[in-house]
């Protein structure tokens, strides 16, 4: 079966991909002269400079890529990340609602969340914002009816079947279950984003004091 490919005039998108396939193809596309390689939840978009390759060449390259076969899991290339998360108040605003939707008690939410095999499906929304997915069947968790005016940097939310982490403080509508100590995005760092698509993520639980120490006590 050939993979459906959408084609604009300087970018295209390989569609209907299983999540693990997105990461495999993104890794395979790296270094092949694309201007941008953008993983989506079930797609991979590739942008090119029309002064460097024609539409026809780009389409042919994408077709060849879509047929790419790889034996090695893509996450093998990237070391898994460990994120230190505090599930305590005041960082877990919506833990009760989320636990109820998951059908578990709020006390066991940290254990449930930490036990999943999370993987970065894509980055989007704002620089460094990571969308994590796992194999567990998660009920569709809705957006907050009334978005918060301010969500702290590092806040971890669950929306739909996605776990998202806010890199920066700002307004936000995701139900929040905790906060991590790590900085997800620093434009002045040699490697600006801590996480990248395809990477496995493990959450390690810390208490509120440890979080305060690690984030410099920033509230």
């Amino acid at each position: 079966m050939t993979q459906p490919i959408y084609c604009a005039d300087d970018w295209l998108m390989i569609q209907d991909l299983p999540p693990e396939r997105v990461a495999v193809l993104a890794a395979a596309a790296d270094g092949a002269g694309w201007d941008n390689i953008v993983p989506g939840l079930d797609s991979l978009s590739l942008a090119w400079n029309p002064s460097e390759r024609s539409l026809e060449q780009a389409r042919a390259a994408a077709e060849a890529l879509a047929a790419h076969v790889s034996d090695s899991p893509p996450s093998a290339a990237v070391a898994p990340a460990t994120l230190h998360i505090c599930y305590e108040q005041p960082w877990a605003h919506d833990a009760d609602i989320v636990a109820e939707l998951l059908g578990i008690s709020p006390d066991t939410l940290p254990q449930w969340h930490g036990a999943q095999d999370w993987r970065v499906a894509m980055l989007g929304f704002q620089p460094g914002f990571a969308y994590l997915t796992c194999d567990a069947r998660i009920p569709d968790i809705p957006r907050l009816a009334d978005p918060r005016a301010r969500v702290e940097a590092g806040s971890v939310g669950l929306l739909g079947q996605i776990c998202g982490i806010y890199p920066h403080a700002g307004p936000g509508g995701w139900p929040i279950i905790g906060r991590i100590a790590e900085t997800l995005f620093d434009p002045h760092a040699a490697s600006p984003a801590l996480l990248q698509a395809g990477q496995k993520v493990r959450f390690e639980r810390i208490d509120a004091n440890t979080l305060a120490t690690r984030t410099g006590g920033a509230a």
Binding site: A26, S43, A47, P50, L123, G124, Q126, P187, Q196
Partner: protein, 313 residues
């Protein structure tokens, strides 16, 4: 050597080349909203085409140089004055120490570009000196310019030759725009198809910024407004949220989205998005990707003698 921002106006910011290759990290492209006008301005002051310049939104704005330097103004048509005396856009202007350069309110279009013969000394972040106003980094401390800002400038080489943009290469901006589009990934959701899109007239709403522009008009009829699985969007993507009124992604727009993508403004016309001001009218004319590629090559050919290396993107 410095340039003082006497009046920043609605929104002025330092803009240069876009952020390149970082969309997978959800870093928007940014850079000059109208890259062609930036290139034309830099050409007149003898700088590489994507050198950092000042992007002025709608005007008015005012600046003062503390030393002699050459400047040029391009983009949206407006009154240009030096110490209250009329000056011309699209030509090299020589300022003396202490001169005040005033940019009036634009008559049409949206953004004016002020290029300088001396480099604006702000650090390069992720490969460019452009400001991402939404994300808050790059340019001058990641923000738009404010009244009283003093921009440090590099040395001016002096003797910048006086040039004028050839008349036939000066873009014309009115109040109505025609943007050519290719079908988007979810254009099959358009109940009346792509061709029907061309019969609609849109007005740019006041909810417009470098990030995106909300359009007003008769709502688009979709077969399904259901969200899509989040995937890439690019500048020039036309999203159709459930209200049926399109949202046009701007140069600083987010990198992924969940609304149906019904169209994509072609690369050759994307610089025009930077000239869409609130109340401007526009129509979207569908073309095929192969035509879009051809249009881009023809457009680049038109400017290439005057602007060698112009890429539009």
């Amino acid at each position: 050597m410095t340039l003082t921002v006497l009046k920043a106006g609605l929104q002025s910011s330092i803009q240069a080349a876009p952020f390149r290759g970082l969309r997978k990290l959800a870093v928007p492209s940014g850079g000059a909203a109208d890259g062609l006008s930036l290139a034309l301005a830099n050409r007149l002051v003898g700088q590489p085409l994507d050198t950092a310049a000042i992007e002025i939104t709608l005007g008015p704005a005012e600046f003062r140089a503390d030393r002699a330097l050459a400047v040029a103004v391009t983009g949206a048509p407006c009154q240009v004055q030096i110490n209250g005396e009329e000056a011309e856009p699209h030509q090299t202007l020589h300022l003396n120490a202490g001169d005040t350069l005033s940019i009036g309110r634009v008559w049409a279009g949206c953004r004016v570009y002020l290029a300088l013969s001396a480099a604006i000394r702000v650090p390069e972040v992720l490969g460019t000196r452009s400001t991402l106003i939404g994300a808050g980094f790059g340019g001058l401390n990641g923000r738009a310019l404010a009244d009283g800002d003093v921009l440090a400038l590099g040395e001016d080489g002096g003797d910048t030759p006086a040039l004028v943009t050839p008349a036939e290469l000066q873009p014309f901006f009115g109040h109505g725009f025609v943007l050519r589009v290719v079908a988007g990934p979810e254009s099959d959701r358009l109940a009346l198809g792509m061709a029907a899109l061309a019969r609609k007239r849109w007005r740019v709403s006041s909810r417009s910024s470098r990030m995106g522009l909300k359009l007003q008009g008769n709502a688009i009829d979709l077969n399904s407004a259901a969200p899509i699985r989040s995937g890439a969007v690019f500048p020039g993507i036309i999203q159709c949220p459930p209200d049926g009124l399109p949202y046009l992604i701007g140069c600083e727009g987010q990198t992924t989205g969940g609304y149906p993508r019904i169209g994509q403004v072609i690369r050759a016309d994307r610089h025009l998005i930077g000239q869409l001001a609130p109340n401007a009218t526009m129509m979207l004319v569908p073309v095929q990707p192969e035509q879009a590629e051809q249009i881009l090559h023809e457009k680049l050919k038109l400017w290439t003698d005057w602007l060698p290396g112009l890429g539009l993107g």
